[in-house]
């Protein structure tokens, strides 16, 4: 049974007079009133949002939501259980507070409010999630072109049901094994350049049937072993398969793995689709959080200016806000990387300043922006960028100075670490470029692609890792290869390349040292195309 409150019905008379609430207890009526007030302000500021669905949940439900990576409907998997257990443990022992909110990129945009929050926190969350994140989901180009907010819930339901059916039919262990392997490769199940089709549950189910038959036919063709009748000229042109290296490893497996059953391919596809859904979020963390933080700050400050909230409210709000954007310095024991909230918030706030009160420095650095309409400029910055390009474009010298950013260059061929740039005139550009690079997924994750399949021989799969500044692969690599091997069904080789030179090779199943090394190398060294 759901109690649904709809804003707009029996609107209170007090249009703009007096604070909305004076104590910290929340009620549904108050939430509704705050939502209306914040919503009106957001509209004034030109935020375009999906409709909001605000759900009040208790802390335990929040932990549930947490552990299913924020998906409102998730399939069952032990890794979510592990996540849940560790969240639960930490929460119960007071090691961590729960996030105040979780917001889901869907239409309507679902935001969770926790029961335990005070009224101030609820208002903060509404401003942050229901208007900040929400408008980001709707506006940012990555979300617009890569995810389909209206169909994600449907798809999740389809996925959950499909996986449950598979578990019934093929057993928990079987399904779990495939999912484990897919999760290991989840980051490599993403199309970076092609736009995927929108997905919907009904459509998906219909197409799933079609795919089943089609795939089998395709596969048979690829793995055909009956010699072709003819004059044999085709044999001469030995085609490499795949013709171009493939970056989407899961897609490649779904379409080409020789031994997978149809339902297993479908599981691969489901994980791939989810990876694709989360891909924009991974690329816009700084922007997304910065945008939402900027707007909760702006909206609530504006409410205060108009006398709709009290000083007490503002004090509590500012305390939470400062906690959120706290950035420990690099030598602090609490340091764990750059806080995306801080970075994003600082950039957006400074953008507004540059528009409203530009200095000479700003005019020199941002001639187009300085003095322009700040709302339009911020919208532009939010819409058409991702973290990397956003930082490269908008990180101002002032923010670099405020955060006291500096850049170190750690080269394992040298004995000392060099401070290559600091927040000064000479360093701004290098600093900015390096920070942007840090948010480039291409640099963060090893670049691994499917290079070749030995279609005529032992059906082995060869992957190439193209090193970024000689960075080697981590120690989990062997484990991941085992997962890949499980999906592929035949030998898997991974070569780590620095330029054209193989610096490390991984194999699954592992190869003995007894094989003559020269022989192997000559066989596997790729010829530059």
């Amino acid at each position: 049974m759901l109690d649904t409150f709809t804003t707009g019905t029996n609107a209170p008379e007090s249009e703009s007079g007096g604070p909305i609430s004076t104590n910290s207890e929340w009620t549904f009526e108050l939430i509704q009133e705050y939502d209306r007030a914040i919503g009106e302000l957001a509209e004034e500021f030109g935020l375009d949002t999906y409709p909001n669905q605000i759900e009040v949940i208790c802390s335990e439900q929040m932990m549930d939501a947490y552990s299913s990576v924020g998906m409102p409907v998730g399939y069952h998997h032990w890794s979510f259980g592990k996540q849940f257990i560790s969240v639960e443990n930490n929460y119960q022992r007071g090691l961590m507070g729960l996030a105040y909110e979780i917001v889901i990129n869907s239409n309507p945009c679902i935001a969770y409010l926790m029961e335990e929050n005070t009224m101030t926190m609820q208002a903060l969350v509404i401003a942050h999630a229901s208007y900040g994140h929400n408008s980001f989901f709707k506006g940012n180009y990555l979300f617009r072109s890569w995810t389909d907010a209206s169909s994600i819930i449907d798809y999740l339901i389809f996925a959950k049901n499909y996986i449950a059916r598979c578990e019934e039919r093929h057993g928990l262990e079987e399904v779990e094994a495939v999912l484990d392997s897919c999760h290991a490769l989840m980051n490599y199940g993403v199309d970076r350049y092609k736009r995927p089709y929108p997905i919907s549950a009904v459509e998906e189910e219909r197409r799933q049937k079609e795919r089943e038959e089609y795939r089998q036919r395709q596969l048979n063709d690829l793995w055909r072993t009956i010699p072709k009748m003819g004059n044999g000229t085709e044999e001469a042109v030995e085609r490499r398969f795949p013709e171009e290296p493939q970056e989407n490893i899961l897609y490649f497996i779904e379409k080409n793995a020789p031994l997978l059953e149809n339902w297993q391919r479908e599981l691969v596809r489901i994980v791939r689709k989810l990876a694709q859904y989360f891909y924009p979020q991974r690329q816009t963390q700084v922007m997304n959080e910065g945008w939402a933080t900027f707007w909760h700050y702006t909206l609530l400050s504006e409410l205060y200016k108009r006398g709709r909230v009290t000083e007490g409210f503002m004090l509590e709000f500012l305390q939470s806000h400062t906690n959120v954007i706290y950035q420990p310095s690099f030598d602090s024991p609490y340091y764990s990387g750059i806080n995306p909230y801080t970075l994003g918030f600082s950039i957006f706030t400074d953008l507004r300043r540059i528009c409203e009160n530009p200095t000479d420095e700003d005019r020199q650095w941002f001639p187009d922006i300085a003095g322009s309409n700040w709302k339009d400029t911020l919208q532009f910055a939010m819409r058409d960028f991702k973290d990397e390009s956003f930082i490269l474009q908008f990180l101002s010298p002032k923010v670099m100075r405020d955060m006291k950013l500096f850049c170190i260059s750690d080269n394992d061929r040298e004995n000392e670490i060099v401070v290559s740039a600091i927040h000064d005139e000479d360093g701004y550009r290098e600093l900015r470029a390096n920070l942007a690079g840090q948010y480039n997924l291409g640099n963060r994750e090893p670049n691994i692609q499917v290079y070749a399949v030995d279609t005529r021989g032992d059906r082995s799969l060869t992957l190439h890792h193209t090193q970024h500044r000689r960075r080697p692969l981590g120690k989990d690599t062997g484990e991941v290869l085992k997962h890949l091997h499980r999906l592929w069904g035949f030998d898997v080789h991974l070569h780590s390349l620095n330029g054209d030179e193989i610096t490390a090779s991984y194999h699954c199943p592992e190869q003995g040292r007894d094989r003559p090394e020269g022989d192997e190398e000559s066989m596997l060294v790729p010829k530059p195309i």
């Binding site: 049974m1 649904t4 409150f5 707009g8 549904f28 909001n52 669905q53 605000i54 759900e55 949940i57 439900q61 549930d64 552990s67 299913s68 069952h76 032990w78 979510f80 259980g81 996540q83 849940f84 257990i85 639960e88 443990n89 029961e115 928990l172 779990e176 999760h183 290991a184 490769l185 420990p328 310095s329 690099f330 030598d331 990387g337 750059i338 006291k404 500096f406 850049c407 170190i408 260059s409 750690d410 080269n411 061929r413 000392e416 670490i417 401070v419 740039a421 600091i422 000064d424 090893p446 691994i448 500044r469 000689r470 960075r471 692969l473 981590g474 120690k475 989990d476 991941v480 997962h483």
Partner: protein
């Protein structure tokens, strides 16, 4: 337009399935931890939950990532004293301060253990997993504490909460039909008459008769309307009756030797064994009683405190305890109503000629009535006459009698598992 929805009443246990999956996957780890916990725990908190720790390495989900090395540019916040061109000597791998390269991202990996708590219930599940109580459980009607409420048709009396609307209205309808049918038949007849009268030619019409008929019809109509739509005696209620429910209940006899040869450590081991058995029985039966009997040369029924902690010494006559058990069984726990379990712990010392008496009592009076009888001998020494006599009992009742030897605390749990391990049924 925003919707605000109260979801707090929705299910909270969305993650239960995933949690179960996790526990299932790491069963081996948890079982090991439970086994260890069994040995190290103090007796009073034997049945609490347990912290389980699993090496992080075993539960990590591997992904492709960068390892240490290569040429890395890193931007850090909070510069205090550095200027460009500064050179910082490289510190050890763990060096957090001074911006030591690989610091934040991958330090501490593989060292931590993933620690979590399992609940008491889960703990017991793991503890007794794969164990079963041998022999069928007798269910008996006993006592009057347990009832099951079942539906038993419809009654005329009851509380408003149990009102059966359909049946009530059906009864009301029937009553209305019954009470008004003759009047309505009358009305129909009179109306027919009236119609006939009104059809007559104006001259022939008898106006007084028409009026009289009309009055009569109106009167009858009023009387029909006066019949109430719903009356007290129409009301029907769902009838629920309480049926006594068969309950399974068990009594456990703990027999322990407290003679001089049993020291505190041995008694402690015996106690652990009894406790395990008690917990196990409690899971299988809704109601469990325990009878403590201790003996040296004579046996005595005592309470728990005295059973484990009072000091007495003397010689050993095991049969005295068995005799007492036999008496208590006859007086208070008839085998037709109770599932009887016997557990005996001793160091194996006994008067030599007493062991054969034990054998006789067991075979004639105890074994035929008990579900299961287990004997543990807590001694590092060789077996004596009692063990041999009991062995012959075992050959007679292989299904119902078990015996094992315990040398030190580590053995208790394994021995317990062995005694109750699931037998593959033929």
């Amino acid at each position: 337009m925003s919707y605000i929805i109260d979801r707090r009443l929705n299910g909270k246990k969305k993650s239960t399935v995933n949690r179960q999956r996790f526990l299932r996957r790491y069963k081996a780890h948890i079982k090991k931890a439970v086994g260890e916990a069994m040995n190290s725990r103090s007796i009073t908190d034997m049945d609490k939950g347990e912290r389980i720790s699993i090496p992080t390495r075993d539960i990590s989900e591997p992904i492709f990532s960068h390892g240490a090395g290569g040429h890395v540019e890193r931007v850090l916040p909070g510069n205090k004293e550095f200027i460009s061109g500064d050179r910082i000597p490289r510190q050890g791998q763990q060096g957090g301060a001074g911006g030591g390269g690989g610091g934040a991202s991958d330090s501490g990996e593989g060292v931590d253990e993933f620690v979590f708590q399992i609940s008491q219930e889960e703990f017991l599940d793991f503890m007794f997993e794969g164990l079963q109580l041998p022999n069928m459980v007798k269910r008996r009607l006993a006592g009057n504490e347990s009832f099951q409420v079942v539906r038993a048709g419809i009654s005329n009396e009851g509380t408003p909460g149990r009102l059966n609307v359909v049946r009530s209205l059906r009864a009301a309808n029937a009553r209305r039909i019954a009470l008004t049918s003759s009047k309505r038949r009358n009305i129909r007849e009179l109306e027919l008459e009236l119609a006939q009268e009104e059809e007559k030619d104006l001259v022939l019409r008898d106006q007084r008769r028409i009026d009289a008929l009309r009055d009569k019809i109106a009167d009858l109509r009023r009387r029909v309307d006066r019949v109430p739509f719903l009356d007290d005696f129409d009301l029907k209620y769902n009838l629920l009756v309480r049926q006594p429910r068969p309950r399974s209940r068990a009594v456990m006899f703990c027999l322990m030797d407290v003679s001089g040869s049993m020291n505190q450590a041995t008694k402690d081991m015996a106690k652990r064994f009894f406790l395990l058995l008690y917990l196990f029985l409690q899971r299988s039966y809704e109601y469990t009683e325990v009878v403590f009997i201790r003996h040296h040369t004579s046996a005595k029924e005592v309470d728990e405190e005295e059973f484990f902690y009072s000091r007495e010494t003397g010689g050993t006559i095991v049969s005295s305890a068995l005799k007492l058990m036999r008496r208590v069984m006859r007086e208070r726990y008839p085998a037709s109503e109770w599932n009887i379990y016997g557990a005996q712990a001793s160091d194996g010392d006994n008067w030599n000629d007493d062991s054969s008496t034990c054998h006789k009592i067991l075979i004639d009076d105890i074994m035929p009535h008990v579900q299961y009888y287990s004997y543990v001998e807590i001694t590092p020494r060789d077996h004596q006459a009692l063990w041999e006599e009991y062995e012959s009992v075992r050959t007679l009742f292989p299904e119902h009698f078990a015996m094992e030897q315990i040398v030190d605390v580590q053995d208790i749990y394994p021995v317990f598992r062995q005694l109750f391990s699931q037998k593959v049924s033929a």
